[in-house]
Structure formats: structure tokens, C-alpha cells
């Protein structure tokens, strides 16, 4: 017997009625939905509202001060470390200067010596090696160049000196040992060739004749002609 439309409709309706969400499942789903809804609400509240921003600004401001205070001892330690490193560098620099001066005689005496490796950045490295004449000469020249380059600017900039008696002197880039200098002859001014620069200096008369000049702020004596 053929099923009528009404029968079919009723049958299908009844079939759908059998599909039912359990109470447990409903509670579980509802709890999850409410939690998600609350989280979203909280997120929205956090995102808006001028009072919240003001509070944030105040909260941020306070740690800034304490943060600065917290960093101050660290900054002091870093500064101290920097000073120590600076002193160390200067000490090594002085030591290397002495070594440069000493190295040539040592090489000449054919003794084992510390040879110097002067690189482009003027840093110094020590290494023990058998003396070699070529190396020693090269190092000697290098040390002279290094020494002269340290102060040659002063000599080159202001080489002209006129004594009170009218004697004209010209400073050369050649150092004179302090033992060779006699009494102070005169305190005067050295000037540049074009006359635009000048610097105070002391002129000494050398024991063996001739003159030496020492520029203000330096302890080096330069030969004058």
C-alpha cells in the first residue's frame, strides 16, 4: 500500500523528534559558550576605556624610575670597568714604548729578545723569537716612525722659532736626549710657516753646541738648526 504524503510527513517529523541533545551535552556546551563569551567581554573591556589607559600610563611611569635606579649601580660598574681597561691600555702602551727603545740594542747583542709586531692599528703583540737582524732593523725603524708620528705634528706645524737676539731656528723631527741639553736658554713661541699657528716652547742650548726645543705640554726635545 502506498504511503500518503501526510504519513510520510508524520514519519519524518517523528524521526527528527528522536534526535535529541542530552542535558549533559547541553550543560557542557553552554559552559564553554559562556566562558568564551566572558573572555571576549573581558578582552573588549581591556581594549577600550580612557580610564584604563590612564592607569596603564601611571603604572608604566613608576617602574621607569625604579628601573633607572636599578641600572645606576650597573652603569657605575661599567664605567669603572671602562676606566680600568683604559688604564690597562695606557700601561701596555708605555710598556711597548720601552720595548721599542730597547729592542734594537738587544738585537745588536744577538740575544733572544721580544720582537714587536706593530700592525696598522698601532696595537702591539709580543712574541719570543730568535733575533734576526732584518726584523730588528724593521722594528727599529717602525718604532722611530711610531715615535716621530706621535709628536711630529707639533714639530711640523710650528717649526719656526725666533730667539730674542734674532736668531732663527727651525725644529727638526729628530729627538735629542735630555742629557745632551744644557741650560734653558729662552722661553719663547714657535710658529708655523704661514704664521697662523703658534705654541709656547722652551729653547735649550745643547752641551755639544746647537739648540733643542721642547714644546709646551711635552717632555720631548727636538733638535733645532
Amino acid at each position: 500500500m502506498a504511503m500518503t504524503d501526510d504519513q510520510l510527513a508524520q514519519q519524518v517529523h517523528d524521526a527528527y523528534e528522536k534526535i535529541e541533545l542530552s542535558d549533559d551535552a547541553q550543560d557542557r556546551m553552554l559552559a564553554a559558550l559562556l566562558a568564551a563569551s566572558d573572555a571576549k567581554q573581558a578582552e573588549q573591556n581591556a581594549d577600550r576605556g580612557p580610564s584604563t589607559r590612564t592607569t596603564r600610563g601611571q603604572v608604566i611611569q613608576m617602574p621607569k624610575r625604579s628601573g633607572l635606579k636599578r641600572w645606576m649601580p650597573i652603569a657605575a660598574v661599567l664605567l669603572a670597568a671602562l676606566v680600568v681597561v683604559q688604564v690597562g691600555v695606557l700601561t701596555v702602551g708605555n710598556h711597548s714604548g720601552e720595548t721599542r727603545a730597547d729592542i734594537a740594542p738587544k738585537s745588536e747583542e744577538s740575544m733572544a729578545a721580544d720582537s714587536l709586531d706593530v700592525n696598522a692599528s698601532d696595537s702591539v703583540a709580543f712574541e719570543t723569537a730568535a733575533p734576526q737582524e732584518g726584523e730588528a732593523k724593521a722594528d727599529s725603524v717602525a718604532s722611530e716612525v711610531a715615535d716621530s708620528s706621535e709628536v711630529s705634528a707639533m714639530v711640523e706645524d710650528c717649526p719656526l722659532i725666533t730667539l730674542s737676539d734674532g736668531t732663527e731656528l727651525v725644529a727638526r723631527s729628530e729627538q735629542v736626549d735630555v742629557v745632551e741639553t744644557g741650560d734653558l736658554l729662552e722661553e719663547t713661541t714657535a710658529r708655523s710657516v704661514d704664521g697662523e699657528q703658534s705654541v709656547a716652547c722652551r729653547v735649550y742650548e745643547l752641551v755639544g753646541g746647537g739648540y733643542a726645543v721642547s714644546y709646551e705640554g711635552e717632555e720631548t726635545y727636538w733638535l733645532c738648526d
Binding site: A2, M3, D5, L8, A9, Q11, V12, H13, D14, A15, Y16, K18, I19, E20, L21, A25, Q26, M29, L30, A32, L33, L34, A36, S37, K40
Partner: protein, 158 residues
């Protein structure tokens, strides 16, 4: 007339309806529950105001229907889950179904929403067309074809 998006109230009003729609598509309780929750979660994520409870219900039914179609399409693409249309009996092993419900679950996807809206919600062809944003003729044709399939499955004349 609900004017605000009170998710708890909406859920209590329409949980069973949404679940039935989802079950008719997914064919098993677990997937139907997931789809139901996902449907209401859309309302949480994008709250909206409805003109009436009927409007609210229609929106949820369409939303659930689309969500289930997308889920099934995605599952068939990734081949992670077997198509419910092919194997609805697997899920019914632990959930005994009657012959009519089994026949409804075995209907092709495109007939499921119109069958639910017509046979369970009692909507007329024009109302279904407006709800699903389809042509009335399309809805009529689908209902006719679905009726034929159900008759055939239930032993009556097609």
C-alpha cells in the same frame, strides 16, 4: 522579542533545533555536538541583534546548515573522515536509529535542509526559499526529489 545577544537565552531556546539540523548533516552525535557548539560560537564571536525569535531561529538553522556543509566538504577533501552519506550506519551502531531517520540521514546533502525545514519546522516552499535564499522552484524540485528518495527507502512507491 529579544533585542540583545544573550547567548545563554538563545542557546536554551534553540539548542535542540540546531542540534537536529547538525545531526541530520553529520550523522553522529559527536560531530553534531561539535557543529552545534561551533554554530553558537559564531554568535559569541560576532554578536548580533535579531528582529524576532523566528528570525533568530532561521539564522541559526542556516548558519548550522552552512557550517555542516563546509565541515563535510573539508572532511571529504582531506579524507580524514568518511562521508556520512556513504557510511551513516557506522555512527548508528551505538545509536540505534529507526528506518525513517536512517533514510533521512542517507539523503544527499542538498536535500537535508529543505527536508528539515519542511517536515520538521513545517515551513512552506516560499518560506523555505526565503530562508535559504533559493528560488521557490528550486526548493519545490528538491522537496519532490527528496520525497521520492524517502518513499523508495521506506518501501513505498517512489
Amino acid at each position: 522579542m529579544p533585542q540583545t545577544c544573550d547567548i545563554e537565552a538563545i542557546f536554551r531556546r534553540h539548542a535542540q533545533t540546531v542540534y537536529r539540523v547538525c545531526y541530520s548533516f553529520m550523522g553522529n552525535a559527536a560531530d553534531a555536538e561539535d557543529a552545534t557548539q561551533a554554530t553558537f560560537m559564531k554568535l559569541v564571536d560576532h554578536p548580533r541583534q535579531f528582529a524576532s525569535e523566528q528570525h533568530e531561529k532561521a539564522w541559526l538553522i542556516v548558519c548550522a546548515s552552512n557550517l555542516c556543509k563546509d565541515t563535510l566538504k573539508s572532511a571529504s577533501r582531506t579524507r580524514v573522515v568518511a562521508m556520512p552519506e556513504q557510511e551513516p550506519a557506522d555512527t548508528s551502531a551505538s545509536e540505534p536509529l529507526d528506518a525513517t531517520l536512517d533514510a533521512v540521514l542517507r539523503l544527499p546533502e542538498k536535500y537535508k535542509d529543505v527536508v528539515y525545514l519542511h517536515y520538521y519546522e513545517g515551513l512552506k516552499t516560499d518560506e523555505i526559499a526565503r530562508t535559504l535564499d533559493e528560488k521557490p522552484s528550486t526548493v519545490r524540485n528538491r522537496l519532490r526529489d527528496a520525497r521520492g528518495l524517502l518513499r523508495k527507502a521506506l518501501g513505498g512507491e517512489a
